[in-house]
């Protein structure tokens, strides 16, 4: 297909005149018959790539995605853009609906599925029987970061991909170090895939770190930031409980419109909060890190991390939700001494000693089904004929990897010099020239005014209208 035709399609289908950086390059390589690993920053419009290619190439686009909520958000977004033939095959579908989708796969253009769902024999058989134009692994870094000790089915994707024989494969992620990129290609058995790698740098996001003495000070700092800095704001937490507690506290003490957003919410509540946030009806969202991947809002000005993220890659991805419109934005990481312990605790959850691994193997040999998370993860390895020694090595390697990630994250937090340089070095990128709009050096205060990010005077929230008038607005045309 000619370049002009692709641009025409972009205009006609999405109303854009230009591609975002990286989009065209990836699309043209895919159309030229290449498999592609694309590392494009958050907000680049990665889904447009497979949508457009899916429109051009006959056959199904299978998108492997890690989270149900993310799949639902992606389907909703495709629906929003007018794509009707889209489905997410998740455990939340009723048996009947699931059968219906599998029986009529030919009627769909895009199918979202988790690695665990895809490997189910019935699902695999149905997908195998359908010609696949494009096999997409979204959030492909999960192969490297989640595969070994949390979601081992990510490690089976290479084999599944070969069984499905798609015409092309596209691996998408917002952040990946050289090592992670190598892992992805090795696991998917695509060493010759083209790599399209864009910088992880987002120059319009000022990088700040607020070191505080304790939890109390952290709360005060958080409150001060959300009140004085221009929003909309996302505050990230690593615990669901804290998300709700602090959302409630912020709402009652600041008068801002705040909501908590995490995996414990119903689909309906998640929908409502997302839509309120997108419509400007919420000032602050307090979210857990796994969520919010689907938030598609261009004018987020402030992203605060109340807890440490688990790695710099996660951090870059999470702060990347700010300033997608290109406008000046601010990311602040709040750090109190000892915060790293929480990350260590989370890392320990998926660790396993040689002893535990040996015991799990013995249970497997005795045909005892494991009920704990670790046992189930290990089951994957036994079913794929790994030895105890191999698995022990894999777990040790992953734990070492996690320790390195934490060390690099702390190096960023405690940096004496330019933080952006530390961040980019992690992705093997050269240091930028440090300027006043770059990042907060140790001991400096946040230049909120200089960045032109002072909170405007907020109008009082109007009282909630009576139910009769809401009903009018909903269903009467000229109300």
């Amino acid at each position: 297909m000619q370049r002009e035709q692709i641009y025409q399609l972009l205009k006609q289908k999405y109303g854009f005149d230009e591609f975002r950086p990286g989009q065209y390059e990836v699309i043209s390589q895919l159309l030229a018959g290449q498999d592609v690993l694309a590392v494009l920053p958050t907000g680049t419009g990665k889904s447009l790539i497979y949508q457009l290619v899916g429109t051009i190439m006959p056959g199904l686009v299978v998108v492997v995605s890690p989270l149900i909520s993310l799949m639902q958000d992606q389907v909703a977004r495709l629906n929003y853009q007018g794509e009707k033939q889209v489905a997410a095959l998740t455990s939340q579908l009723s048996f009947g609906t699931r059968q219906q989708v599998l029986r009529h796969l030919n009627a769909y253009k895009f199918l979202f599925v988790s690695p665990e769902m895809l490997k189910q024999p019935e699902v695999l058989a149905a997908v195998q029987a359908t010609p696949i134009a494009l096999f997409v692994v979204d959030e492909a870094h999960c192969i490297s970061t989640w595969g070994p000790d949390f979601r081992p089915d990510y490690l089976a994707l290479g084999q599944l991909r070969e069984q499905l024989q798609p015409q092309r494969t596209l691996m998408l992620t917002a952040t990946a170090t050289t090592q992670v990129r190598q892992d992805i290609l090795a696991q998917l058995r695509l060493p010759a895939a083209q790599q399209v790698v864009y910088s992880a740098n987002r120059p319009n996001i000022y990088l700040g770190v607020a070191a505080v003495a304790n939890e109390d000070e952290k709360r005060q700092m958080l409150q001060q930031l959300v009140v004085t800095v221009k929003g909309p704001t996302i505050v990230y937490f690593s615990s669901k409980r804290q998300t709700d507690l602090i959302a409630e506290w912020l709402q009652s003490t600041t008068g801002l419109r705040v909501a908590g957003y995490h995996a414990g919410l119903s689909g309906e509540d998640r929908f409502k909060i997302q839509q309120q946030f997108m419509a400007g009806q919420l000032d602050v969202i307090c979210a857990t890190s796994a969520f919010g991947m689907g938030i598609d809002k261009a004018d987020i000005r402030l992203v605060i991390h109340y807890h440490l993220p688990t790695s710099l890659a996660d951090y870059v991805q999470e702060i990347g939700r700010a300033g997608r419109d290109g406008g000046q934005s601010l990311a602040v990481l709040l750090y109190a001494p000892g915060d790293e312990q929480l990350v260590r605790n989370l890392n320990d959850l998926t660790s396993a000693s040689a002893n535990e691994i040996t015991q799990a193997f013995q249970l497997y040999q005795q045909n005892i089904t494991p009920h704990d998370d670790l046992g189930q993860v290990l089951q994957f390895y036994w079913e794929h004929d790994y030895t105890v020694e191999q698995v022990t090595k894999i777990f040790e390697k992953r734990q070492r990897g996690k320790n390195d990630e934490l060390r690099q994250l702390l190096a960023y937090v405690q940096a004496e010099g330019c933080r952006r340089a530390v961040l980019l070095a992690h992705f093997d990128e050269p240091a930028p020239t440090h300027t006043n709009e770059c990042c907060q050096l140790k001991g400096d205060s946040l230049p909120v005014a200089a960045l032109n990010l002072q909170a405007p005077l907020r109008a009082q929230t109007p009282p909630n209208p009576a139910w009769e008038s809401i009903l009018d607005q909903l269903f009467l045309q000229n109300s």
Binding site: V86, A88, Q100, D269, K272, L476
Partner: protein, 339 residues
């Protein structure tokens, strides 16, 4: 709310709430007078139930007189009374027995969103649910509507329904709808607005969903009637049990029904017990026979609390009598006492 000063089997109460339709659960629901709550908390995990139970035990509202059983303490009974007076009490949970309320709620929520967006000529919006089954049903429904009148018709219908409700139910109902420029509010947000707990809002919304289904059942002309109709059963009984019951009504004995329906005798008996518990018009005398009714009446003549009857008492007097007849008679008495 589910316990009394008499001991109740905690697991049975849990099974009533999550809608497990075994005869033993249904019978417990009948004797505990909580069948109206059958299936009202479908899908609630056991751990959550046990955690709530533990909280009440720790607070001293509940006690465990024997393993597996709980009962309200005096303080617990007073607390319950106080909560009953101050918290919203559901009135329409019986709808869960004959209507798939949860599915209707999901379908109608999308239907209202689609209608609201269509009224405002908006065709680019994020759908409330991405479930392909629900989307297909609503799409089919929407195609049959006349868009020019749909908004007004829904507005009129909803206004009529909502005006029949006490405050703050109309506010809760309308604030929960997602539609044009109106994402709707979460339980948490409504709780803050109305100074209630999110749990009370959830109970209100469940009850509202039931009330709405029951109201719509009486409005066959409603534009939403076609969405509700496939989700309504004519009775609360499972289809197979209902078939057994109909065969019995033709005058066949339990044994004859088993042969005709090619079922085990025990299955037929389970079916009949289920029907007896859920259908008040069950022909007890025909099935039990007057002779058995008389024997059993005599055995339990001086025992007014039906739940305390023991089958061993029957065995000593009439060793040939099967447990089935005893349980059926017990159900009959519970129903007459309740009436």
């Amino acid at each position: 709310m589910m316990f009394s000063t008499e001991p109740r089997r905690a697991k049975a109460v849990f099974n009533v709430l999550r809608g497990r339709r075994t005869v033993s659960t249904l019978f417990a629901g009948l004797t505990y007078d909580c069948l109206s709550a059958l299936d009202s908390w479908h899908g609630v995990p056991m751990e959550k139930f046990l955690a709530s139970l533990q909280e009440l035990l720790t607070a001293g509202d509940l006690a465990t007189p024997m393993e597996g059983y709980v009962q309200l303490t005096t303080a617990g009974a007073a607390h319950k009374e106080q909560l009953q007076a101050t918290l919203y009490q559901p009135v329409a949970f019986r709808a869960f027995q004959t209507i798939d309320v949860r599915r209707f709620t999901a379908i109608s929520a999308l239907a209202l969103q689609v209608a609201s967006q269509a009224v405002h000529h908006q065709n680019r919006y994020y759908p409330l649910t991405t479930d392909p089954g629900i989307q297909a049903i609503v799409k089919q429904w929407f195609r049959r509507q006349t868009v020019a009148h749909l908004g007004e018709q829904l507005h009129t219908e909803l206004t009529t329904f909502l005006q029949s409700l006490p405050a703050p139910l109309p506010t809760v109902f309308v604030a929960s709808i997602s539609g044009f420029e109106n994402p709707g509010q979460t339980d948490q947000q409504l709780a803050t607005q109305l100074d209630k707990t999110p749990l009370e809002i959830l109970v209100m919304r469940k009850d509202l969903a039931c009330r709405w289904c029951l109201w719509l059942e009486t409005q066959p002309q409603s534009c939403l009637a076609t969405l509700l109709q496939p989700l309504v059963k004519s009775n609360p009984v499972t289809p197979s049990a209902w078939q057994t019951y109909q065969t019995v009504q033709q005058g066949l004995t339990v044994e004859q029904v088993a042969i005709q329906r090619r079922l085990k005798l025990s299955t037929v008996r389970e079916h009949l017990l289920e029907v007896a518990i859920l259908v008040p018009t069950f022909p007890y005398t025909q099935v039990l026979t007057p002779a058995r009714v008389q024997t059993l009446t005599e055995i339990f003549a001086d025992q007014p609390v039906v739940a305390n009857w023991r089958f061993e008492q029957v065995q000593t007097v009439a060793p040939e009598m099967d447990f089935f007849w005893f349980r059926l008679f017990q159900i009959m008495r519970c129903q007459t006492n309740a009436a």
